[in-house]
Amino acid sequence: MKEQHRRAWGLGIALVAMAAALLVLGAGIGSTGFENLLAVGDDPVALQIVRDIRLPRTLGAWLAGALLGLAGAVAQGLFRNPLADPYLLGSASGASLGVALALSLFGLSPASTQWVVRLGLTGAAFLGAVMAVLLTLLLARGVQQTLRLLLAGVIVGVVLGAAKDLLTIASADILQAIQGFMLGSTGLVGWGACAVMGGLGAVCLLLGWALAPVLDGLALGEATAASLGLPLGAMRAALVAVLALATGAAVAQTGLIAFVGLAAPHLVRSVVKTTHARLIVLSTAMGGLLLMAADLLARWMIAPQELPVGVLTAVLGGSYLLWLMHRRSARGGR
């Protein structure tokens, strides 16, 4: 156990250190390129930009990524499927439908920084995500059967996605706003959003970590987990709640960000083989680092323009998974 123990700690420390370094870097990268943070002290406007825009945004990217990494690790354990991602239970489509509804009903603009508007959109996305998961649970008649849950999630995703498309076509002026949400962005994350994600993230992480032995048991099969005396029904419901809450919180603040939740647990597992308790914690840190790095790249690559971070994570995450597949098949199918 010693070697994996050491690796897990090493990875954890490395992830935190890199995130801290990127946070400092992120505070310095703006639309005019990299600025010296030390010079900011003399300029009140620059200080305000760093304090009120860049810092919360960079930290927010870490938090949203962390929530997705956490949700991904839980989803993959819960569904016993390495391809499971946080949006599996329909939360992504639910959140987009929520945003589309809010936009078409109230004509809100996602670019608006007015807090009532932001709160309305964020709330709609969160509500949509949670309602979609509840609908999935209803269709699957509870959490007992994983396969039924998976299928119900796919169905809810497709149907709500279609409803969102219908709404978008009916009121074409929200098309661009919806598109922005679907691509994901960390541009509008402020301190309030950071506080919400941080608070929910802490609760989800604690719960996920406490329920991790169930995921270890489930890895050996449903019946074996039950034979160990685990109250599977209640614990699975709690894990679905963690999954829905973490995904909903991230999606509501940053829109749909692809691949972070899928790739983070894989990246952790490629370094260290460990129980779900550690996997969940490390995957949280890994997800945070991934999205933070992607956010920095998105801001820096075509500055002063900015890439939607979701596009970047999709391209990077997709390439990573392709490489992973290639490496696995090169090793002889395992």
Partner: protein, 258 residues
């Protein structure tokens, strides 16, 4: 059967999907003995074992030392009754778990939630892994092991529970002959230690090494008797369409298919 009953089934029925696969099973399994369950494919052996382990909703009643199994809290049941399922664990979802961590899962029923493993837990895990010759791989992930090696780890997981009753479904699957012999030795040691072992076995010769055999066909128990009894042999011949013959060789009963 002599001796006190460790497990009793009374009028047990079970359904998979819409079909009833167990039709009113009455069975009494003696404590401190090794009982094998044999029968053709689809006879309901695995289903019966799951019912006996308290893992499947069923009609009728199962009693553990006279106590209703259904009324027993899950954790207490798991401490007293260890179950080993059939097939490769989790179809790959357990590949990233370390052998040691897998065996330690067997201690879950004894541990306080989230508490670190105690010395007793570590001792039990080491003993279990050593008894299946899996101790040397303790720091390897399950995904790097062959089918037979995995089976030995899963067996160790079931042994690590240190339950008074062990229910095993096809424990010899994927094991090579020397490790099959090791398994039988381990079972004999458990029984000598006062434990009760129930195993579903396709390998008739291994099944005949037990103290008693339960013969099943089409969801019913057709016979329950000692391994050496002519009546037991006749019952086994009957459920296998009279295509096995019994020979007594070197003090042991052998079933030869023909």
């Amino acid at each position: 059967m002599t001796g006190q009953a460790a497990l009793e089934a009374r009028g047990v029925t079970a359904t998979l999907g819409l079909a009833e696969v167990l039709h009113g099973i009455d069975l009494s399994l003696a404590a401190g003995r090794w009982t094998s369950i044999v029968g053709p494919n689809g006879a309901g052996k695995s289903t019966l074992l799951k019912v006996l382990a308290g893992l499947l909703a069923h009609g009728g009643e199962v009693r553990l030392h006279g106590q209703s199994l259904a009324a027993l809290p899950g954790r207490l049941r798991a401490q007293r009754l260890s179950w080993l399922g059939q097939g490769v664990a989790g179809e790959g979802s357990a590949d990233d778990l370390m052998v040691y961590d897998v065996a330690m899962l067997g201690r879950l029923p004894h541990q306080r939630w989230l508490a670190a493993p105690s010395d007793a837990d570590r001792t039990a895990v080491e003993r279990a892994l050593r008894s299946t010759q899996a101790w040397d791989w303790r720091e390897r992930p399950l995904g790097q092991l062959s089918g037979g090696e995995r089976q030995r780890v899963l067996l160790a997981r079931a042994l690590a529970v240190e339950a008074e009753l062990l229910l095993m479904d096809e424990p010899l699957a994927n094991l090579d002959p020397p490790h099959q012999a090791d398994w039988m030795r381990a079972v004999r040691a458990l029984v000598a230690d006062g434990k009760t072992v129930v195993s579903v076995l396709h390998e008739l010769n291994a099944a005949l090494a037990a103290d008693a055999v339960v013969v099943m066909a089409a969801g019913r128990v057709t016979h329950h008797g000692a391994c050496g009894d002519a009546a037991t042999h006749r019952a086994i011949e009957a459920v296998f369409e009279h295509r096995v013959a019994f020979h007594h060789v070197a003090g042991q009963w052998l079933a030869v298919p023909h």
